[in-house]
Structures are given as C-alpha cells and as structure tokens.
C-alpha cells in the first residue's frame, strides 16, 4: 500500500464492506450480543485477513504503517456498523509490539487485545509490573472475554501474556451493548517485557481512533433518526415538518460536522508531524466532542423516535446502548476537560 492516503482511505472503506454490510443491516450485531464473548472470533479472523490489526505495524514489520487518517476512516465505518469485535485493541497491540507481535495474532488464529488502563477515571498505564514480573491490575479491557492473548503495557515494558497463564485472573462484567469489559489481575506472573518508548503515543492515537468510532456511530444513528422524522406522521404531517424538531436535528448535524472536522484535522496534523502537545490537545478535544456527540445523538434519537425509541426491537436502541457503553472509554468528557485544563497550566508556566 504505497498509494496516497486518499487511495488508502477509499480501499479501506471498500474493504470494510466485508464486515459492515453496505445496507447497514444490523442482523449480525443483534445476534452477536449477549452470546459467548459478545463478538465473533470468525469476524475477528476475517478482520485480521484484511490486515486491520496490522494497520499500525510498520511495513518492515509486516504491517501497513497506516496513518491516522486511514485508521480513522476505518473506525468510522466500524462505528457506523456497530462492529463489536475488539479491532482497535488488537491494532494497539500491533502498534506497541511491532516485530514482537505474536505470529498467531497476525494470522487470525489468536485474538490479541491490549490491557493498558490502570484504574477508573484515569488514563494512566504505567502500573501492572513490579520488578520484571506482572503484578497488579488492568481495568476496562474491551474484548477480554474472547481474547487469547493480552498485550500489557507497563513501566517495565510491554508484556504479552496468554489468558491461561497461572497467576492471571480475568473477571468480566457484562456491558449494555451485549459484550463484556474485563479486569485483569496479575498475581506475580513471570513475563518477558519488550521495551517500548511510544506507549503514550499509541494510547493517544487509539483515543483519536475511538473518537472516530463514536463519530461513525453517531452519524449512522442520526441518519436513521432523520429517516424516521421523514416517515412518522402525527397530526396529519411528518413529524420532521415540526420546527422544534427541525432545529434540534440541525443542532445534531452541526455537532456531527464539528466532530468530523476536528477529527480529520487532528488526524492530518498527527500524520504530518505535529508535536506532542499539539497531538495530545487535539486528541483530547476530539474525544471530548465525540463522546458528547454520541450521547447527544443517543438521547435525541430516543426522544424523536418516541415510544418506538425505547423498545429493544427498534435498531436505534442498539446505537443508544453502544453509545452508553463506549462514550466514556478512553476518557469521559469530564476527564478530557481536566486533561485540557492541565495544558492551560503548562502553557502559563
């Protein structure tokens, strides 16, 4: 893939059709939830064949060395299709491990996810190791229920560990979208650590990619809601002809385009060599807006669907539950604002 990023994006969007149906049918998504791990290993293998987990592997390490623009385009497609497979988490593992990414994770024989977060309400990732052994906890690991391998970034480097390793306890909690979040507890587990100087950068890139997933989700939920406004009639008119709903629909559109513009610009800046502070601020700003957007669209979509909006049989509910599940991952809006406020202080000093 040595074409321009525009060509890459077109290819990626086309290839996404293999997993996200062009007609946006959610039959598979509906069936996958609340069963097994909440996602399909077959689809994960298919995603691996398409090379998605290797997007951030450099070309010399057998990957594609894709930039943020390409990754965000993919994530937007996955969000629009509510894809539950932990593709972003696998992508992070590739970015962290590079040539050390285990072979089965590149062939689709194993699912690898990244367990980076130390605790709730914080983007800290240095914990989890003592000396040269894994000890401690990693929380809110998406896809943990069906994963074979975990990439675990710590202050001592990145460890790769199999789920059956003695001393590793995995607890899972059901999420609203029908999947699981996992907590990993390490009780003094021997591990090999790969040195990695770019964990912070990978988490930043993943945060932006996650914002793009939220954008795709919001865009699709908004489109469904607009269709409903056109079709549903009360008082002898389509409800979309009522001005108060029109104004609120335009507000959603405005927020969507702000989010899209912010994500595209931040992705471009990262791809064209922006400095660390500019990157970090851009990422926080994008995720702040995308998280808020997803929740705005979720609550307006329910309200505009009326009682249909609070039924499980209407597809809009799948978007709502996904938004509720995802919006606060990689940092809730409060946390992003706190992060941005830290930069204010840094700039003044």
């Amino acid at each position: 893939m040595s074409e321009t990023w525009q060509d890459n994006i077109q290819m990626i969007r086309d290839s996404a059709r293999a997993i996200v149906p062009a007609d946006r049918s959610l039959d598979r998504i509906r069936k996958a939830r609340f069963h097994g791990a909440g996602y399909s290993r077959e689809v994960m293998a298919q995603a691996t064949e398409l090379g998605w987990p290797m997007m951030w592997l450099t070309e010399e390490n057998g990957g594609f060395g894709m930039g943020m623009r390409e990754v965000c385009a993919l994530m937007e497609e996955l969000g629009a299709g509510l894809v539950p497979e932990p593709i972003l988490s696998a992508m992070m593992a590739g970015a962290l491990l590079q040539e050390n990414l285990p072979e089965p994770a590149t062939t689709g024989d194993a699912v690898i996810v990244t367990a980076w977060q130390d605790r709730s309400g914080s983007l800290e990732w240095h914990g989890g190791a003592a000396g040269s052994r894994l000890a401690g906890t990693k929380v809110y690991v998406s896809g943990a229920a069906g994963a074979d391998l975990f990439a675990v970034p710590t202050a001592c480097g990145v460890a790769v560990i199999h789920r059956d390793t003695a001393g590793l306890a995995i607890e899972t909690q059901e999420t609203l979208d029908g999947g699981y979040m996992g907590t990993l507890r390490f009780d003094d587990v021997a591990a090999d650590f790969v040195p990695c100087g770019h964990v912070e950068a990978v988490i930043g890139k993943a945060t932006l990619a996650h914002a793009a997933y939220l954008l795709g989700l919001s865009d699709a939920a908004f489109a469904i809601t607009l269709d409903y406004l056109r079709i549903r009639e009360q008082f002898g008119r389509p409800i979309g002809s009522f001005q108060s709903l029109q104004h609120r629909a335009t507000e959603m559109k405005l927020q969507l385009e702000l989010t899209r513009a912010a994500i595209e610009a931040t992705a471009r800046r990262i791809d064209t060599g922006a400095g660390a502070i500019e990157r970090q601020q851009g990422v926080a700003r994008c995720h702040l807006r995308a998280g808020s957007l997803a929740m705005l669209v979720a609550r307006e979509a329910i309200q505009m669907h009326g009682a249909m909006g609070i039924t499980d049989e209407a597809d809009i509910g799948l978007y709502v539950r996904k938004a509720m599940t995802e919006a606060n991952l990689f940092g809730a809006p409060t946390q992003q604002r706190r992060r941005l406020a830290e930069f204010l202080t840094e700039n003044a000093a």
């Binding site: 309400g121 059901e174 009360q234």
Partner: protein, 385 residues
C-alpha cells in the same frame, strides 16, 4: 389490619415515624430500589400489605377506603417509601381510574369497581396510545360500536404499561367517525379475559417486558361499561392526563436520582471535586424548587380543582430534570457507565439504569414537544403553528 386513624391530625414527625416503622417491618422479601417496574407476581405481597393496612390509595377520600391525606402528609409517605426503596405497585387503579370514577363514575360503578381496586382483585391497565395515535392521542382509531346492549370493540392499543399483569383495561375508543376527532371518543372499561383480547409484550431498552400491545378482535362488553357520556370520553381522558402529569411531575424520581448521583460521585471519588459540586448544587436546587411547584398542584387536586394545561410545566421540568441528573450520572460513572448490571451488585450505584429509566419520561404522558406546544397556545395564548 386496617388503620383508621385521622392521619392529618397527627404531627408530621409522628406520621413519618409511623410510616417508616410500617415499611421497615412490613415490606416483603422483594426487590428494593428497582428503577424498572416489578411485575405483579413479585409485587403482589406489597400491594396486599398496603391494601390490608388501608394505605393503597393515600389520596382517595376516607369514605371510599382512602387515607384522605393532605399534600404534606402524602409527601411524607412518598418520601419514606422512597427512602426505603419500596417498589411501585401496579397503581393504575389507585392513581388513575379510582380518582376518575370518583369524579365521573356512576354510583353503581363506584360501588362495584372501587372496592376491587382496594383489595387487589382488579389490576388495571391504561389503553390510550395506538400505533398511529401517540402524541396525537385524539387520533385513536380503535373502534367501539353499540350492538344491542353491548359494545363491540375492534382495534389496537400499544405502550400499555404492565398490561400483562392487568385483568382490566380502560380504553379510549372511537364511537363516532363523523365528527371532530376529539368529539367522537368514549371511555370504556374492558375485562382482559373477554374473548378477543390478545396481548403481545414489547421488550424495552432495559430488555424488560414492561409494556405490551393489546389487540381487540370483536370484543364484547356490556353497554354500561362506559364512564361518562357516549362520545364524551375526551373530557375524562384529559382529566386523567392532568392527574398523570401531576403524578409524573412528582419530585420523587429526581430526588432519588440525585441520591444515586451522590452515591456514584462518592464511589468515583469526585464528591469533593468543586466542578462536580457546582453542577450538583444547581441540580439540588432544581429538585427543591420542583418540590415546591409540585405541592401547588397537589393542593389543587386535593381541593377538587381542575388541573389546567399549565400542569405541562411541572411535567416538562421534572422529566427534563430527571434526565439532566441521569446524564451527569453517566458522565460521573466513567467507564462503569457502560455496565449492564450494577457494579459490585449494588443496584443503587447503577448509572445506566437511571439513564434508561429517565428516557421515557419526556415521551409518555405527553411528549415534551407536545407539552411545549400546548403551553405556548393554551397558556401563553400564542397563535397556533
């Protein structure tokens, strides 16, 4: 054992202590602090306890088996039940139909139906909305035709809360298609076991079957199963909607959501955070002001006054406040916002439950959008769009 004291003569403190003692000693072994509705199988023992004590219908007059409470005493009762987390019973009979029959029912209807609500023999459901008649409720198409001394009913109702638990349903039926839509509606009482009545439960966003569709296929009920005049049902329906809006406007949902927000904020260690406190205090004032507004409407009800279209303000403010609290709750809960069940099994710290539970309140009982249109025209006298 039926309690027949004059509650209003008691001091607030004594009354509160009595209520607290009752709920703490008599509440059965069923769920507490549930935001989703309990079904009849589960909540029945609590309904029975309230019924035996004579506390099922706090607002009904004493001579009809109620407690005849003043607004202040009623609030204390609600507060104590809320504090304990007592489940809401199937209250369409006590809250909706009872007061309606007291106002519009015949003596025979009062004598027959009221005691059966009080005893729990009749559990009622409300059949108002239809697929094509939601916000535009007067567009109901479910039809009733008089055939000799029976009404023959055909059509469909939907969003019938706990319809599967009910053995009676009251419906708005089209009885004249030739007049203005509001002028051709009658208010009918239908036993759910009548031949031709079928149900389909609908799963809600919390994945629970809390409401259902009800289908009527040549259902026959006696001609006297009508409340008010033939084609005079809209007046009764509107009166009930007024009651419902006062009820939805009660501060208990927002107050308990605020308590939940505090618990979650403490759990997530932001309780001392000044940014959080700024938002929390503002919401707390909103709940207090809502309570004051609510009391003015309860006083009106108690005094036998009609509830006017201005009650929409109460309903709008409470439902939107409840939602605003639930939205801050989701943000404060952080990553745990996405959990399907309460973290560590404590239902009182589950953020998603309150978020989802708050969604229908701006839709049911008159959507916020329709309420605002109504306020603009009927209260502010602005021209119709």
């Amino acid at each position: 054992m039926k309690d027949v004291r004059d509650y209003n003569a008691m001091s607030d403190g004594d009354f509160r202590a009595m209520v607290r003692d009752f709920v703490e000693t008599e509440y059965p072994d069923i769920r507490r602090y549930s935001l989703s509705r309990l079904h009849w199988d589960e909540v029945k023992p609590w309904y029975r306890k309230l019924s035996e004590r004579g506390w099922l219908c706090p607002t009904w007059p004493v001579e009809h088996g109620g407690m005849g409470l003043t607004a202040g005493k009623h609030l204390i009762l609600i507060e104590e039940f809320e504090r304990f987390g007592a489940a809401r019973v199937n209250d369409i009979g006590p809250v909706m139909l009872g007061p309606l029959l007291l106002k519009y029912g015949t003596e025979a209807q009062k004598a027959y139906f009221l005691p059966k609500i009080l005893s729990g023999e009749h559990i009622w459901a409300q059949g108002y909305s239809e697929p094509g008649a939601g916000s535009d409720l007067a567009a109901v198409r479910c039809e009733a035709v008089l055939d000799g001394d029976e009404w023959v009913i055909n059509g469909q109702k939907t969003w019938t809360t706990l319809g599967m638990d009910a053995n009676w349903i009251f419906i708005l039926a089209r009885t004249d298609k030739t007049v203005k839509k509001q002028a051709g509606i009658s208010f009918l009482l239908v036993p759910m076991d009548a031949p031709g009545v079928t149900l389909r439960p609908i799963l809600n966003l919390e994945l629970e079957a809390e409401f259902c569709e009800v289908f009527f296929d040549d259902v026959r009920v006696p001609a006297d199963h009508i409340v008010g005049e033939v084609n005079g049902g809209w007046t009764a329906a509107k009166a009930l909607l007024g009651h419902e809006r006062v009820f939805i406007g009660a501060p208990r949902l927002s107050a308990s959501a605020l308590a939940r927000l505090e618990r979650i904020a403490r759990r997530k260690d932001v309780w001392q955070d000044p940014v959080f406190r700024d938002s929390f205090v503002a919401l707390r004032c909103d709940v207090a002001d809502l309570s004051d507004l609510f009391e003015t409407y309860v006083d009106k009800l108690r005094g036998g006054h009609e509830i006017g279209p201005d009650v929409a303000m109460l309903k709008i403010f409470q439902s939107e406040l409840y939602q605003r609290i639930s939205e801050l709750t989701m943000e404060v809960a952080g990553e745990e916002a996405g959990l399907r069940h309460a973290p560590d099994g404590d239902t009182r710290t589950h953020a998603a439950a309150v978020y989802l539970s708050a969604r229908p309140t701006t839709i049911f009982g008159g959507s916020t959008e329709v309420m605002r249109n109504m306020l603009a025209t009927a209260v502010l006298n602005l021209p119709r769009g």
